[in-house]
Symmetry: C3
Subunit: 351 residues, 3 copies
Amino acid sequence: LFRLVPSAAVVKGLNTLSAWALQNGLLAGKQVFLCGESGEAKQAVAHLATKLGLTVLDKGSLSAARELEDFPLKLFPEWRLPLSIAVGLSAFFFFYLLIRDVIYAYVEKKNEISYRIMVALANKVVFPIVALVMLSLCYLPGAIAAFFQLYRGTKYRRFPNWLDRWMLCRKQMGLVALGFAVLHAIYTFIIPIRYSFRHKLISGVVDEVKNNKTTPSYFDNTEAWGTDSFISLGILGFFLFVLLGLTSLPSVGGSLSWREFNFIQSKLGHLTLFICTAHGYIYGWNKFLRPSTYKWYTPPGYMLCLIVPSVVLVLKLLLLLPCVDRALTRIRQGWERTQPKEMDEIKTTNL
Amino acid sequence: LFRLVPSAAVVKGLNTLSAWALQNGLLAGKQVFLCGESGEAKQAVAHLATKLGLTVLDKGSLSAARELEDFPLKLFPEWRLPLSIAVGLSAFFFFYLLIRDVIYAYVEKKNEISYRIMVALANKVVFPIVALVMLSLCYLPGAIAAFFQLYRGTKYRRFPNWLDRWMLCRKQMGLVALGFAVLHAIYTFIIPIRYSFRHKLISGVVDEVKNNKTTPSYFDNTEAWGTDSFISLGILGFFLFVLLGLTSLPSVGGSLSWREFNFIQSKLGHLTLFICTAHGYIYGWNKFLRPSTYKWYTPPGYMLCLIVPSVVLVLKLLLLLPCVDRALTRIRQGWERTQPKEMDEIKTTNL
Amino acid sequence: LFRLVPSAAVVKGLNTLSAWALQNGLLAGKQVFLCGESGEAKQAVAHLATKLGLTVLDKGSLSAARELEDFPLKLFPEWRLPLSIAVGLSAFFFFYLLIRDVIYAYVEKKNEISYRIMVALANKVVFPIVALVMLSLCYLPGAIAAFFQLYRGTKYRRFPNWLDRWMLCRKQMGLVALGFAVLHAIYTFIIPIRYSFRHKLISGVVDEVKNNKTTPSYFDNTEAWGTDSFISLGILGFFLFVLLGLTSLPSVGGSLSWREFNFIQSKLGHLTLFICTAHGYIYGWNKFLRPSTYKWYTPPGYMLCLIVPSVVLVLKLLLLLPCVDRALTRIRQGWERTQPKEMDEIKTTNL
Ligand SMILES: Cc1cc2nc3c(=O)[nH]c(=O)nc-3n(C[C@H](O)[C@H](O)[C@H](O)COP(=O)(O)OP(=O)(O)OC[C@H]3O[C@@H](n4cnc5c(N)ncnc54)[C@H](O)[C@@H]3O)c2cc1C
Ligand SMILES: Cc1cc2nc3c(=O)[nH]c(=O)nc-3n(C[C@H](O)[C@H](O)[C@H](O)COP(=O)(O)OP(=O)(O)OC[C@H]3O[C@@H](n4cnc5c(N)ncnc54)[C@H](O)[C@@H]3O)c2cc1C
Ligand SMILES: Cc1cc2nc3c(=O)[nH]c(=O)nc-3n(C[C@H](O)[C@H](O)[C@H](O)COP(=O)(O)OP(=O)(O)OC[C@H]3O[C@@H](n4cnc5c(N)ncnc54)[C@H](O)[C@@H]3O)c2cc1C
């Protein structure tokens, strides 16, 4: 029986490493902790691990297994970066929009709309904006990596360190983005219950009746199409977003083959990004050219947040051009512009 | 350690097969791929697999394990059928309702309501309809199988091929149905934000005030009960639906015993189907006999979509009749109307 | 290969036991069923299990493994208690509120508001109330246990039986609470579609226009802040609640280290409880002192349901006081007020 134990420990040790990392042999030099009763079994495991390019630290007998479990003293190390990016982005956009919307209204029009801080600012702007930017930050490193590979003409050189770190926290980045998207969705569902929504509706009607206007009886077909497409795209994007999140559950991801997982994450992910970006563009479709949207010469939040996704989509489009795509595929299959490496390494990285 | 590897590979090979299939020995003839370093271990695995009625193809040494992973060249093979059924149903109902609602209104009343295509058609009709039909298609094959067993008086004969294929993709069918149900739910939550909803509300009020009607002050108690039960049933059905989806997550399902899993999927599943069907019936409770609902002599979409679920529920009710139920239980415990088979086979299938 | 089988069976046997239980050595006396072909392997497993303080019942050869699977004849035994608590609480609050709201209105004001039973009663009161009470019942035993440990000055004495049972079903209790919270959320999203909501809105406007009141044009800033914070807290609490639920999925929980899991469940759990309680307090912020809320001298439901959470939060706050916290930490690290036990036991419980 004890032959089973070390393997479990290794799985424990390995489960913090991403499949992408293993695939690309990026882990050379990383440490894996091992422990177990039978020296023979440990050796076999260590052998396997070294083959994968890992440094094995033997932590001794079975009783050390507990210690190994407690090893990640830092809680959620791989969530640090995405979470701090999310907090930073949220803070930036919050203050940007606070100044633009609430303070601007107060200074220029003497309106007290501080109540907006709570829900409107959070919903209308911060959550969707951060979700979209974080989502695009998930797919930006992949595009950058591809350009690196194209430029260098080989896939056997390591990416710069910052790109490595970025690529290794894409999963967490995506899940944080999903969290913000969920909050955005809930806030949207809840809008009609808000006091200010109902107040606006009621006072709008009352105004109208008193002034005997007949505007609202006129049904604006373009407006209906606009809002309905806006909403539909949002729903579809959210649905795909949640699907991405579901496949990244360990048990669901584990039941897919590697190709299926990659297909969903990469193809469906870019589709999600595209739909969510379109959702953002439609929101502002008739406001881009209106000067009144540029209060104090600053663009509204949703315009700022469309920059990164648009860049990612354009880069991806470039990569999908037939000639670029062919070159990239060749490079990834092990072809090199310069000189061939020894077969052994190709095999390892081709995993 | 290497003794572990082949077993992992087998698990890999087996995890595409459903428990139902294993249980019923339907897999005779299917191929399982095997690989591993130690010939001894492989033999043991092959032995086990052959006992289960599987054809084992030895794929050679450990290095072939990678190949084995890449084997399902076709992406998501078991999702093909459910997805194409879903697409087919969606397309059919979309065009059916496009003709009935939008084109009818355009032809007969000269109303331009094309904006409806986007959200109203999708929400009010296509999503819930497809979700309900797909859900009932999940439970129809079980009922058909039971009638087959009753008719043949044995459980040792294989079902016809189409039924087999159908039964093996019920999980995917259910999950696709869940996806449509989720979309239906989100669309429903979003309704009050839509331009046309607010427009209708406002212009309704304005109209009323102008014409000095007093209708809306009258609170229709039946209507309130009707819509509230409709909504409650929808929420409850959706909740159970999501619960079904949760238990079909590999990790959750794996932590349940087989009996618990079956209890949830079968009992709760039929309850879900019942509640969702009731939700549909209440929607149309006061419209079934009104001639104005039959535009161009065609029934509205929700009537069409209630046919399959109703049939499934009636069949299930028949199967629950004491006498039928007793006969079925006896058959499933291995009893046969004709002649007894050898004990060995009974054991295998009784698993 | 067969060496693997018994271990799998043990895992099967052990997976109904919670980590907390194993950690605290509470399982002494519990029975674990074992089976397997090789006597040697079984012995090793039995040895391990006995070390963990479990009573091992050998169930014989491999063919008995099936039986072992079928053993939990009672479906979902650990869900019994939480579900019956949930049903009991729901029934109590349902009738309490039925009397207070519907029957009171009928008796005193001759209003027929029975339609409220369906959605309003369920949403406004029963679901959120039960969710909050169940959530606090999740965290109450932890606080009680801490006080027990403080009072006894040791952690090596078993808790009374009722506390044990309570602590072992906290997971299920939390998930049932989550279910109610989800229902509450869906009901809230659906409110604006309800007939009575729209009716109230419309008749409100019509009334106003007729009587030429100008109240609604006045925008109540305090009200806007109040409802918006109420909603924001609700959303945040719900989000954290769902996060708790996600980490309790076996596959997600399994990919976290024990410390991370505990951090989320305990710290984030108490935060969730705090936010949800605040959500409840804000709901009634301006109603606590109004005599009209005390119909027939009974407090409204949301006041009743705030009692337990408030108690839990106060207890937790006491435990967080520096001096208490220090004493507790010392006790949990194995320190005892009376006499030291043998090292062996400390090791076992320190796991
Ligand atoms: C909700 C959500 C959940 C997510 N969950 C996960 C998750 O669980 N796991 C995860 O990893 N990501 C996850 N992500 C992040 C993201 O979806 C994935 O990282 C996705 O695979 C990125 O796709 P890509 O095409 O940009 O990158 P990749 O497919 O990684 O490709 C990026 C670059 O790597 C190089 N490359 C790729 N394949 C090869 C190869 N075979 N040989 C050599 N070089 C190669 C190429 O240069 C390529 O351009 C999640 C995102 C979201 C929004
Ligand atoms: C959201 C969602 C998720 C789903 N996830 C899953 C999933 O993960 N896995 C899955 O399998 N299904 C899944 N389904 C599909 C469905 O819920 C299940 O297949 C369900 O068990 C069908 O129940 P049943 O009673 O109709 O069929 P079954 O329980 O399969 O019975 C069908 C017929 O098989 C025969 N039969 C059953 N038991 C025996 C026996 N012991 N011996 C001989 N014959 C027998 C009988 O003729 C019986 O009538 C899902 C559905 C939904 C909506
Ligand atoms: C949606 C949802 C899902 C949930 N899922 C789960 C789940 O999957 N699993 C689960 O267990 N709970 C789950 N819960 C319940 C709850 O979140 C956890 O039980 C949580 O850990 C309780 O935290 P606590 O601080 O009150 O208790 P604990 O952390 O258990 O501490 C309780 C008491 O135990 C004693 N104690 C704790 N640690 C030690 C120690 N090292 N040595 C000696 N004594 C100690 C102390 O007296 C302490 O006060 C869930 C709750 C919700 C709402």
